[in-house]
């Protein structure tokens, strides 16, 4: 009993130091234990990772600061429309497992540009692939560093820049030392931390609000207050009262929801840092199995997120709407100092009016804080709040490390070894890989400290680019034996360029004086969903050009026949 009282007495900040310090010590310990000694260790963890470990590592690699910190918040403001992220970022794994992972594992090389370069017997194709891999990975990693900075600044109350630098040093340490091997085993630990940190508050709040300990069922249950009202009905009611769209209906057009979901799914399946994970297992059957395990582990968080969204949204409205500003709780004031919550008393009545109508609304809440603030809004114990901070860091660091590895492999393997200096020794290549990882961390840190004003646009662009470039090239490479280099290169270039142009015109507005209105979108499809159109363009161009050019050489067609058969995968090799 007395120890409970002592624990209650420790503040959030001390708890956060304890939790973050403990988890960081674990990551560093693992990194020292699993150092890389060859390029094979560095790129694909020696190729002997078990399907379970690979599944956990893939899940941690995939679930970034965006999944952990931002997604539930975005859903809580978007309602039904948030489904594009839920379905988009999980459905891609079905495509990966059925269409890509087994064959790329059988192909047995180190990187995605390796596959594109060999399958399309062309240095140009390899270069285009390297360019896409670097662009996609850099935009992503900058976002992760920013996430690290936000967590540090809010919970440890250090400057955002200091937070970014601490994060850089940690990632640098284990990515450079351990390569893929170090990353894989730290990601296993990070998965455990992040899923525990996400589930504990969700379960607490689910019990609090509905009496049901399973959040996935809780948000479809009746309220615990005995009124007999369903939680979702109540939230629909609250939303319409304040002038918002009904929570379960959403406001995006059907074609746009369709296009965004497809672009995210296909983009997920085309992301190099996800694909490369399937090079690390022993056999083709292990690649299939670990895709299943990865999605199962991801789905635990992804099916909980919409429940968290509903809890957080309801709690937020009930806590602040029409309440006197003088009586706001402590968390409200703390987030106000970070600038992520703002209140302007437009009608000077001293109460908070939270409304859909922009002219009367007095409260602006940044979507990114919902998950972090949720335990505080629900008044959970301090250690739970600290746990969420450690979980957010685990999610951001694990994804950042995976991306840095793709960047360093693209430079040291695809550019230096395969194009610039093929005679480089294994040792020399390992040094180059480590140096490029250092360089990549520094660039990522720079963007974390000085984020470009259009981070969100660029992240959406990363998915669009992956969907428009890699996905069709890899699918056609496996399932269409006659696909040749002319078709594939033309397809990738058309896909990337159309995606870039649409994004620049309709998302960044650089072509016009002002950003063009929604009504000008092609077929009503937003820039986020345009990856779907660009992907279709890629397929059409690839197949058309192929029809008019000569088929690939005999030995390439033999490679295709060979990757379709699962046995004899051997070990991944760089030669």
């Amino acid at each position: 009993m007395s120890s409970m009282i002592v624990l209650e007495g420790i503040g959030v900040q001390k708890w956060t130091y304890i939790m973050v310090g403990l988890t960081f010590a674990i990551y560093i310990g693992i990194a020292i234990w699993s150092r890389a000694s060859s390029t094979k260790d560095f790129y694909v963890a020696g190729g002997g990772v078990s399907p379970l470990a690979n599944g956990m590592a893939t899940a941690a690699d995939w679930m970034s600061a965006a999944s952990f910190i931002s997604m539930a918040g975005i859903i809580s403001f978007a309602g039904y429309d948030g489904a594009v992220y839920l379905m988009g970022w999980t459905g891609g794994y079905v495509l990966l497992a059925l269409l890509l992972a087994p064959y790329l594992r059988k192909f047995g090389k180190f990187t995605v540009p390796d596959f594109i370069g060999d399958r399309y017997y062309s240095k140009t194709a390899r270069l285009v692939a390297v360019f896409c891999a670097l662009l996609v990975s850099f935009t992503y990693v900058a976002g992760q560093m920013r996430g690290v900075g936000i967590v540090f600044s809010r919970f440890l109350e250090v400057d955002i820049n200091t937070g970014v630098i601490i994060g850089m040093i940690i990632v640098l340490f284990y990515a450079v030392l351990g390569g893929m091997k170090g990353i894989t085993y730290t990601q296993v630990a990070q998965y455990c931390v992040l899923i525990f940190a996400f589930m504990v508050p969700a379960i607490f709040i689910s019990i609090q609000m509905t009496g049901n300990p399973i959040p996935q069922l809780g948000f479809g249950s009746q309220l615990a207050d005995g009124s007999g009202t369903y939680l979702l009905d109540k939230l629909d009611g609250l939303s319409t009262q304040l002038g918002f769209a009904e929570y379960t209906e959403g406001s995006k057009s059907m074609i746009d929801v369709f296009a965004i979901t497809l672009a995210l799914m296909v983009g997920t399946a085309g992301l190099p840092h996800v694909i490369v994970r399937f090079f690390t297992v022993k056999r083709v059957r292990d690649a299939r199995k670990s895709a299943g395990i990865a999605l199962l582990l991801i789905a635990i968080l992804y099916t909980t997120a919409p429940a968290v969204a509903v809890f957080a949204r309801t709690n937020l409205i009930e806590t602040v709407s029409d309440k006197p500003y003088a009586n706001v709780p402590d968390w409200f004031t703390k987030w106000e100092t970070t600038g992520l919550i703002t209140f302007t008393d437009k009608n000077n009545d001293g109460n908070i009016q939270y409304l859909a109508d922009n002219n009367k609304n007095e409260l602006v809440v940044d979507r990114d804080i919902m998950v972090l603030a949720n335990p505080e809004i629900a008044r959970l114990p301090n250690w739970v709040i600290a746990l969420v901070a450690a979980g957010g860091l685990a999610a951001a660091l694990s994804t950042a490390a995976g991306l840095l590895l793709v960047i360093s492999a693209s430079v040291s393997h695809d550019l230096i070894k395969k194009i610039i200096n093929p005679k480089i020794s294994d040792k020399g290549e390992l040094v180059a890989a480590r140096l490029s990882a250092v360089g990549a961390v520094c660039v990522a840190g720079y963007f974390g400290i000085n984020p470009p004003g259009f981070v969100a646009a660029v992240v959406a662009l990363a998915f669009g680019l992956a969907a428009a470039s890699f996905f069709p090239a890899i699918i056609l490479g496996i399932f269409y034996k006659r696909m040749n280099k002319e078709g594939a290169i033309a397809g990738m270039v058309v896909g990337i360029v159309s995606m870039l142009l649409y994004m620049i015109k309709y998302k960044l507005g650089w072509f016009d004086e002002t950003l063009p209105d929604k009504s000008e979108w092609w077929f009503g499809i937003s820039p986020e969903g345009f990856g779907t159109v660009a992907m279709l363009l890629n397929f059409v161009v690839s197949i058309t050009i192929m029809k008019f050019t000569s088929p690939p050489p005999e030995e390439v067609q033999d490679i295709v026949e060979k990757i379709r058969i699962p046995s004899g995968a051997g070990e991944a090799t760089g030669h």
Partner: protein, 84 residues
């Protein structure tokens, strides 16, 4: 292994993939998006059915689909002598 063996294996594999992808499409794009409004007329506990498919059901089906594929392919590998 002969070439015809490999071709027969590939054909069966493609059939499995097409069937599973059809289900993948139906639960997400079908139930969760295209027929959402019709399904929302049906309510199970607090969930409107279309909303539930979009934010819950489709993800459960995705996980199950991959594990079905793993099982089918392991059997197929054995049948054609490609298991190891």
């Amino acid at each position: 292994m002969t070439k015809s063996n490999a071709q027969a294996y590939w054909k069966e594999n493609i059939r499995y993939v097409l069937i599973l992808l059809a289900i993948w499409f139906l639960v997400s794009y079908g139930a969760g998006i295209l027929f959402k409004d019709e399904l929302n007329q049906i309510k199970i506990a607090g969930f409107k059915l279309g909303f539930w498919f979009a934010q819950q059901g489709s993800m459960y089906v995705f996980v199950i689909l991959i594990f079905i594929y793993v099982r089918l392919m392991n059997k197929l590998d054995k049948k054609y002598g490609y298991d190891e």
